[in-house]
């Protein structure tokens, strides 16, 4: 067992200067496989790993101790799966950086990043948790500013690290509140004291943890760094970051809600409600921004905000159910959200890898320059299609299953006795449904504009297919999507054993057994179920029936297909300028939700000669939607804070007299204070 653990650590940190690309990523792949093996073993055997090495003898409760139980094993599984495919993918991807930057630094930082994530999920002590937590953000910060020539990357990096640091400050406050109750920093003591926390501290700890981990996971008010940091990182890193790092944030949230702040009284329901509201609003806002974005990586980053919102929605529901003692429903909601986090890690990783190879091929991330790549990069477009279908939650693949579970959880919220909760969860389900609808629309745009129709720029024309290693990486992730979609029992059993619900609760986990959700209200009993394998069989049979019918119907005449140019309404040859671009495609959406985006379009005309304004040389219309959160919430508060700082700064006046005056005032003030003090 320890061997396993050392196995994951050793190769991760190893970096070999000479044969860079291979040497740094092969150990990464091997070690992530080991992580997968370790977590699978823990999940199956349900046993617990424990290891601890104290840092300071004098303070026993402060040690680097590790504890791998079901929950951490489940998240380790996610990390392992995605990092295996990403490290295989980055074997090919580093070619893109061959000339400009040292591959060695990229390789070692990536290893460090994955290592710190694995360790975060394994720690058992608040101090070591924070240590690895910030190590993770430090490694990802260095990766974000990897291409540090571009000024925008630097700013994104700074915002990212400062935001995560604020998040860590909240988490530290939460842990130390627990420390003040229990007197020790180890998670075991937190767990043992979970029961008898005073209600006041319990709420405070919960809110602090929600804000802290929310910043890392990218919940709405604190999501500002996400759309900036992910696109500026190299693609294989942003695949890891949005696929897995956000999940570590969720891991923290799960750890706090389930272990330390166990919701056991109706009073805690409002905590769950807070999560539901935060989740659904961040889902809605994330997808709204994603649907209008024309930079492919920013769109995917915004989309991560949306999926995280769904996961937190599921968590919130489980907290609400738990606080009313509805164990079965709580397990269902938790299953839905954990399953969704597993799915999201897989298909978001796949999509970012796809985006990476597209960016590598065309050299730009702006979708308006792309188009027609499916002909030149057939494999990448296939994988991207698989990813889009999965993320949009369409039937055959895994996205649909987790969304089905979340919907069932939402639908069964009627059993919550409190009416206010029922209604608010109902309204949250509207936001959720709107998100699902918009997600389909976003990915039509994302996939359609990038891969279909005619190439819109020179670069898109000569885009070359991604190197073989990248494709292998993507096949790994793609096949995972399909497997998780078709055989949901694989994931459900993993989640069940991870979170320790007893098997019978949700459904019988036979390989082909359907996922069933019971319904019993005002006298009507029904069991709605979904068994993907049979659905697949049906689709296959329908297809066969159709082909048979087509063959029979056209027995006589053999129809042939001719290729001819698209019908262009008799305007003469179409060139790519008349094509729909990403921005135009999302224009109806923008007008419908204009109160949210408040797009301001600026039209500037260029004239041949200043005298007559009638003959226009060119009219360019630029319209971009402003970041609502940026203007209303962040910049004003930032300016106010900076203004305060500015005033404090003034005391360094530079004159000796004023310095001496300060000393005089302080002496007299303190003397008066001391004399007055009893």
């Amino acid at each position: 067992m320890l061997l396993f653990f050392a196995g994951t650590l050793l190769p991760l940190v190893f970096r070999d200067p000479r044969r860079e690309t291979v040497a740094s990523f092969v150990p990464a792949a091997v070690s992530s496989l080991l992580t997968v093996a370790l977590s699978a073993w823990v999940l199956l055997s349900g046993s617990v790993l424990r290891l601890s090495s104290p840092v300071v003898q004098a303070l026993p409760w402060m040690s680097l101790s590790f504890f791998v139980d079901g929950t951490s094993a489940f998240f380790m599984l996610i990390i392992g799966l995605v990092s295996t495919s990403v490290s295989v993918y980055s074997l090919g991807y580093t070619g893109y950086y061959a000339g400009k930057h040292g591959i060695r630094t990229l390789g070692s930082l990536l290893n460090l990043f994955v290592l710190s994530m694995v360790l975060v999920t394994a720690t058992n002590n608040a101090f070591s948790f924070l240590l690895f937590w910030e190590l993770m953000s430090l490694a990802s910060f260095l990766l974000v500013v990897y291409e540090h020539e571009k000024e925008s990357n630097l700013r994104a990096g700074i915002i990212y690290l400062v935001m995560t640091h604020i998040g860590t400050a909240f988490i530290t406050a939460a842990f130390l509140m627990l420390y003040s109750q229990t007197g020790s920093l180890s998670f075991d003591s937190f767990r043992s004291a979970a029961g008898q926390l005073a209600p006041y501290t319990k709420d405070l700890v919960f809110v602090l943890a929600l804000v802290g981990f929310g910043t890392k996971a990218g919940l709405v008010p604190m999501h500002v760094w996400l759309p900036r940091a992910h696109p500026s990182a190299p693609s294989n890193v942003s695949a890891l970051m949005s696929g897995v790092m956000l999940k570590v944030g969720i891991y923290g949230l799960v750890r706090v809600t389930l272990d330390f702040v166990v919701p056991n009284s109706p009073g805690d329901a409002w905590l769950g409600l807070l999560m539901v509201v935060a989740g659904s609003s961040s889902a809605l806002i994330g997808v709204l921004y994603a649907s209008v974005e024309h930079d492919i990586k920013r769109a995917l980053a915004y989309h991560s905000v949306e999926n995280i919102g769904i996961i937190v929605l599921g968590l919130g529901l489980s907290v609400v159910f738990m606080s009313f003692g509805l164990e079965a429903l709580a397990a269902l909601a938790l299953l839905a959200s954990m399953y969704h986090s597993l799915n999201h890690a897989v298909f978001k990783g796949l999509l970012f890898m796809g985006a990476g190879s597209v960016v590598m091929g065309t050299g730009t991330a702006d979708m308006n320059q792309m188009g027609g790549l499916s002909k030149r990069m057939p494999w990448t477009s296939l994988f991207f299609l698989v990813g889009s279908i999965a993320i949009a939650g369409l039937p055959p693949l895994n996205g649909f299953v987790s969304e089905w579970l979340t919907m069932q959880a939402l639908l069964s919220s009627y059993q919550v006795p409190n009416v206010v909760l029922q209604l608010s969860i109902g309204f949250a389900s509207i936001a959720f449904a709107l998100t699902v609808g918009l997600a389909v629309a976003t990915f039509v745009k994302l996939f359609g504009i990038t891969f279909l129709a005619r190439p819109r720029s020179k670069a898109a024309e000569e885009a070359a297919e991604a190197p073989r290693a990248m494709l292998v990486g993507m096949t790994l992730a793609g096949s995972l999507c399909v497997v998780l979609g078709v055989l949901p029992f694989v994931a459900t059993s993993a989640v069940a054993s991870a979170f320790g619900f007893d098997m019978g609760l949700v459904s019988s986990y036979t390989p082909f057994g359907p996922l069933t959700v019971g319904y019993a209200a005002n006298g009507l009993r029904s069991v709605s179920s979904l068994s993907m394998p049979t659905v697949l069989v049906l689709i296959g049979s329908a297809g066969a029936a159709l082909l048979g019918f087509a063959a029979v119907a056209s027995s006589g005449r053999k129809t042939l297909t001719r290729r001819y140019t698209t019908w262009e309404g008799a305007f003469g040859a179409l060139d790519e300028r008349t094509e729909y671009t990403a921005t135009s495609l999302s224009q109806p959406l923008r007008t419908v939700f204009k109160s949210f985006f408040r797009p301001h379009t600026s039209v500037d005309r260029e004239y041949f000669s200043e005298s007559n304004h009638l003959v226009k040389k060119s009219v360019t219309v630029t319209s971009e939607s402003r970041e609502v959160f940026e203007d209303q919430f962040y910049s004003p508060s930032l300016h106010a804070f900076v203004a305060v700082l500015d005033r404090v700064r003034r005391i360094q006046t530079g004159k000796v007299n004023s310095y001496l005056l300060y000393i005089m005032i302080v002496t007299i003030a303190l003397m008066v204070l001391v004399v007055v003090q009893p």
């Binding site: 007299n657 001496l660 000393i663 005089m664 007299i668």
Partner: protein
Amino acid sequence: MQVPLPTLLTLTAVALLLSTFGVVVRRGFAGWLSAYRYQSVILAGSAAVIAYETGFWEIYVAAVLTLVVKAVIIPRLLVRVTESVRDEFKIEANPFVSIRLSLLISALLVALSYGLIRETLSSASLGVFAVAYLPVSLSLFFIGLFVMVSRRMALNQVVGLLVIENGLFLFTTALTQGVSLIIEVGILADILVGVMISALLLLRMSQTFDSFDIASLENLKDD
């Protein structure tokens, strides 16, 4: 003639306060120097009185030392340093606080130190010297500090510093009848070296800024 001790002590205390007010009033550098020299002489006198009363021989040595260092060496040092600088820089043109106001403030400070001492240490059983000299030394400290704060010329700040040092010396001799001699010598050495270094600085300052005005010393700040 056997002058009763308490009146003698109050007499020297009053003389000390008068000399400090002299420092506050004078505008020109020469004026300050003479006031300072006068103050150091009285200080040495009072130290001698304490030594006579308590019979510790170390205090005599300390008194003589202060007399030599503070009354003779330091003033000559300052005069030699400031010879090269033109006269008008040695006059305090317009201090932050007008002379009259600064007089009032120093009186206030004296009252403050007396009040403070009575308020805090009334309970402690103070020796006869402490009763007389403690508030004086504290007021010396505050007035010295006030002089440094309110004056615009660098020279004045040195003089303010020296007034504070005098207050210090009085404080130590009055309270504990003189700490062990080595420490006394150490303190005096520190003061001497301090004044030498500030003289060096003044010299260097007059070469670069060719004026002692503090205004030129303000570019190191957070604009």
